[in-house]
Symmetry: C2
Subunit: 416 residues, 2 copies
Amino acid sequence: MPLEKSWIESANSPETDFPLNNLPLGVFTADGVPRCGVAIGDRILDATGLEEAGLLRLDDAPVLDIPFWNEVMELGPEAWAALRARLHELLREGAPEKDKVAPFLHPLEGAELHMPLAVAEFTDFYAGRHHATNVGTMFRGAENALPPNWLHIPIGYNGRASSVVVSGTDIRRPWGQLKGPNDNAPRFAPSARFDLELELGAIVGQNSDGPVTVTEADEMIFGYVLLNDWSARDIQAWEYQPLGPFQAKATATTISPWIVMRAALEPFRCATPPRDVALLPHLEEPGPMLYDIALEVDLTPEGGSPTTIARTNYREMYYSSAQQLAHHTTSGCPMNVGDLLGSGTISGPTKESRGSLLELSWGGKEPITLGDQTRSFLEDGDTITLRGAAQGAGYRIGFGPCTGKLIPALSDPYAR
Amino acid sequence: MPLEKSWIESANSPETDFPLNNLPLGVFTADGVPRCGVAIGDRILDATGLEEAGLLRLDDAPVLDIPFWNEVMELGPEAWAALRARLHELLREGAPEKDKVAPFLHPLEGAELHMPLAVAEFTDFYAGRHHATNVGTMFRGAENALPPNWLHIPIGYNGRASSVVVSGTDIRRPWGQLKGPNDNAPRFAPSARFDLELELGAIVGQNSDGPVTVTEADEMIFGYVLLNDWSARDIQAWEYQPLGPFQAKATATTISPWIVMRAALEPFRCATPPRDVALLPHLEEPGPMLYDIALEVDLTPEGGSPTTIARTNYREMYYSSAQQLAHHTTSGCPMNVGDLLGSGTISGPTKESRGSLLELSWGGKEPITLGDQTRSFLEDGDTITLRGAAQGAGYRIGFGPCTGKLIPALSDPYAR
């Protein structure tokens, strides 16, 4: 699919994350009030304002009066398509209503961005084979790297929706109960092995009642965001047996501020990798359900300049979000509008394509170099920025940066 | 504390779960509309109606117009106390406003009851020592029964809020991926080892921002419900390594319909058991934070009569809900109004006091007897009823039954 041209010139640049083909959905502050917005080139279109002005009508009643996109999701796939069609009509080159729309554009640069959705529940998966193999090799040795179930089901666990935050939010280094393999007893202290995880987040846009097929699951997905599932490796090492990660993953999960709708990614679909073991029929992929999305991770030390520490691609995943969502419903578990599914860490086959410091520094044994510094895990003041884009012919479908700065632990977590 | 007498005679019976001392909060249908209600003897007091009539005023704006108690929780502990004081004033023997209140009473028997709260997020713990020892012994042998972290932290994992249902809701036997130890490959089939878990649920009534002490955590708890965390043991066995239970616990969690406020349980506080290993200071119990609540589990086969299969007490837990909630915030995880914390299965030291069939039948090796039938795990048509009450001098603080019937699995989960 070629670039679709807009009368907003910046949207026609091959460099922008937000051409007319993209139209990602976010929430921004205009006139002191959070409003639903659409990124286009170097502008944000005030969608709430358009609805108020009668230029965008998705339902009988307003659905953009609350600054989250959940109500639009609830309207269902036909409304999602109608939204894109109407935005396209208003923003395309030669749009007849151009002059009416222009007053609703705001500069993207410097805009205050908020959570684009109210997250209902958050589930994190472990569906990247390179990541699972790396982690398993470190903890259980190369021969037992993948757990026996790994090639048969997308392993997932419930996370905490309350700690999902939007890009730009500072992340406070957590305290936790820690016990090293040589310690006699645990102690309560700030995490010393705090890490990032490069993931893609799928946003569930429809409710389910009972098990759904992989095809139905794919149709339930409203869109995608970049997702950094901050992880305290030392807290996790002590707490996670036998019932999984808990406080290690509860400090924060950062998402990028723009929901890239599934429709914008259609031209970039690709299949999951070949399987060693056939999946059971209910998890089989009926068509390509991954996407070719180039991803990278930048680390910027306090006062320093950024270093790209990883480059990988979403097509490396072993299970798609649709397969994960289908698995999530097998038990009859109801899924709801606003549920967020983390893909799992997206590592590639090479050392440079690993999506966490745990892997990049091989558990701290091989610190990575950043100019004149090294890193095994994150240090106070470090900023992590995830970037991602699908590359079209002369344009890109980008996500905008997903960034967060690690700030020091509280000196006394119970001081009031 | 003695029985507080009400002008509603049935509330003065030593047999009722709902004397004036209790005043638990639920949601029921009256005139075809769900409304907030308070159980008193054999009646439900229409609290929404009282608020509409100006007889109950908790805030400047109505807080009982939406049929959940969340808005009352948001008002905070002073409002919780004011609510109880006002209800007491209206319902006590000799209440001057008796005649104004009487029209707002409805029969409890046959009333349609709904979820008393909107559950924000659900966390399940594993904090009963007898249960953890039983399960650990079955799976890892008696010497390694308790994981190394168990005596140091209340082990918990995030569950699924969307599948929490109110007592009386039928539970559909789930499908899942199953693989027995002697099977070559997994298969997708209905769970054959579906079980109950007898728990108490603590309802978080205030938000947190950063770590809270155990004392602060106790003050954040609004009340308690009985909780049955239905569990598919065969799904769990295959899926839970390395990241914990997921679909095994996602079919349903049933709660009792009446929130017993923390204040009603004050006279029944008791301490957690003696510790083998001292807890780190941030988890120490500053005072008694368990409750003496007698619990039992009835199993009723389809068309049969109930058998009490377990009798135990909440005072058997190793960690209180306050300790669990404090631990839950150590990482900075924000807790919210409406969060639900499952205590973990409440088993006692004897065989008759085990809170799950997994333990009662010792993994299916020692089926229990129900009249002329036996059970290792639940069969289609079985109804499980949890009951619980704290016993005062001449009165009881009861929860009302927490019940659910297991109905057969779908013959084809993907038939439409």
